[in-house]
Amino acid sequence: MTKFKMLPLTGNQAIAEAMRQVNPDVVAAYPITPQSAIVETFSKFVADGKVDTEMVRVESEHSALSAVVGASLTGARAMTATCSAGLALMWEIVGVASGLRCPIVMAVANRALSAPINIHCDHSDSMGARDLSWIQIYCENAQEAYEMVLLALRLAEHPDVMLPVMVCEDGFITSHCVQNVKIHDDSDVRKFVGERRSEHNLFDFRHPVTIGAIELQDYYFESKRQQQEAMKNALKVYLETGKELSKLTGNDYGYFEKYRIDGAEAIIITMSSSAGTAKTVVDRMRNEGKKVGLLKIRLFRPFPYEEVKEAIKGVKAIGVLDRSFSFGANAPLFSEVKNALFDMEKRPKVQSYVFGLGGRDLLEEHVEYAFKELLEGKLTGKEKYLGLRE
């Protein structure tokens, strides 16, 4: 039986705790609501000598990720955290980090993008960056966020992957909510996380390396193809790493969590904290004899199309809950699910629901309403909204 402590922690504190156990070489971060407590909590660890990390108190998020990229390219372990406008500001470097194949782990306390300015939760920030070749993992609660930071580090640093990872938690909802978090033993975590090994880095003076050269029309395409291959590898490595972490934690880290899917006629597919609300509704409705279930997606990038298709076989109606718009197009998660289902002989009906923007609560009645529609077959081809005032 592995050792652990039960601590009352917010999502932010849990993530900071994971970072403490990892003891990265460099953390460069800029505060932004609702992520600030990650940086603040970690800063206190630094101030009290609980970590050996060199903390760089940068003057903006763009500089935060730039410094983390610089540090990562020396072969050091570098981490950061941001969300919303901060992620938007560092957007240029988000692509640089993945293009230079830096195994960075960044926590994202999902918050709505401006304008209008809003400090509360939705997924527009990380969804806006979904094509930038970062692995994206969405966490339901503080426990998942804590453990996913550890998984993410091993995943990022795997030689077949070497891509940065965004570990997403819902801003305010998960980040600020105190939960019971099982913190695993420091030495067990350190053993799992291990040491980073880098073959070519900026501190090799015998074979100096040039990083960040300009690749013209004759080479750029090949670099990007490599990133796509790394994403493909990540699908495999994610599961392998998850299995290894399971040995320590006892938890499961599949691409998704199947909640009472067996025999379900209608299911909801969603990510992050809304899954928690949905689980409560599934339980209640199941007690009433309704055949409903939930598929909670954890790994959004790379997207596990084949496995999602397998998982929902036999389901008649699917409601996909997205916490962001893709303006002028199908919402992100809905779009991926539809992609996954396209090749099926017998396709279930799929309905898009956008909810929770700018921190608008997803209430149980909203989920129940969605399930009722799905069970009654009230599906239109049009995007629907939960909790929106007409």
């Binding site: 070489d25 460099v26 460069a28 050996d52 990390t53 060199e54 760089v56 108190r57 940068v58 003057e59 903006s60 763009h62 500089s63 935060a64 730039s66 410094a67 983390v68 990229v69 610089g70 540090a71 990562s72 390219l73 020396t74 072969g75 050091a76 570098a78 240029e92 470097i93 640089v96 230079l100 880095n201 900026l202 501190f203 090799d204 003076f205 100096p208 390396v209 040039t210 990083i211 960040g212 050269a213 300009i214 690749e215 013209l216 080479y219």
Partner: protein, 306 residues
Amino acid sequence: MNLKELAEKRPKFTSGHRLCGGCAVPIIVKAILAGTEKPVVAANATGCLEVASTIYPYSSWDIPWVHSAFENAASTVSGVEAAYKALKRKGKLNKEIKFVAFGGDGGTYDIGLQALSGAFERGHDFVYVCYDNGAYMNTGGQRSSATPYGASATTDPAGKVRKGKMEFRKNLTQIAVAHDIPYVAQASISNMPDLTRKAEKAFETKGPAFLLVLSVCPTLWGTPANATVELAKLAVETRFWPLYEVENGKYILNYSPAKKLPVEEFLRPQRRFSHLFRPENKGLVEDIQKHVDEKWEKLLNLCKEK
């Protein structure tokens, strides 16, 4: 270091780069990198130096080198330096490493100013070298806040109504001094012993050091490739580009030209200033001279202060 020593040094920046013939930048880089014998890691902002030295898969760098973006040479090097401190503290590294960031006036004065300021304020141990050719030369010569008054730039060209850039240069050297960093200096390739001495001093300085070095761009200044060093000399002799250093807040004037040449002698050979010599633009050269004189007096006063 004398010039013979510089001539014999094994180049850390090799031949085969694609900077224009007659460009001052490789001369600057050579002088800077000769300023330390210790292992050095360079970060480079997007610009002439970065692009021309690393067209994949060719690289002119015989030192570890990183480029990530245009405005973040200072923040990138901050991360590299922080990793060094961390690895040293953890006992994973034990050699002394020096850090340098190169940026043109483009990536330093304007878009890169924030990152520069942040790196200065945090006190990272590094040298920032800004090679100042007075415009975004790599992309054809768009104006920067370092473009001299009266110069014609592609985004502020001389025309019928506007006579080129009508704002005087931002004083980045003073901005660096205002950050209270231990060493700031202005240099020119026309005075190589002065430049190499400043490079050595900068690398020895604990904490941030800033070197602003005049760079001549024959291609877009419209001057012959062979006149680069002459022009750098004229810039200094006309007091357009004073050579001074500020060590822990104390100003030292390194060179006072015995014969103060009129700034016109620096401007006349350059195509980017040729419109100033047309009769309808009379008075602009005088404005420039007045400005040079004022800045010189101000500098003298700063150097006299005890």
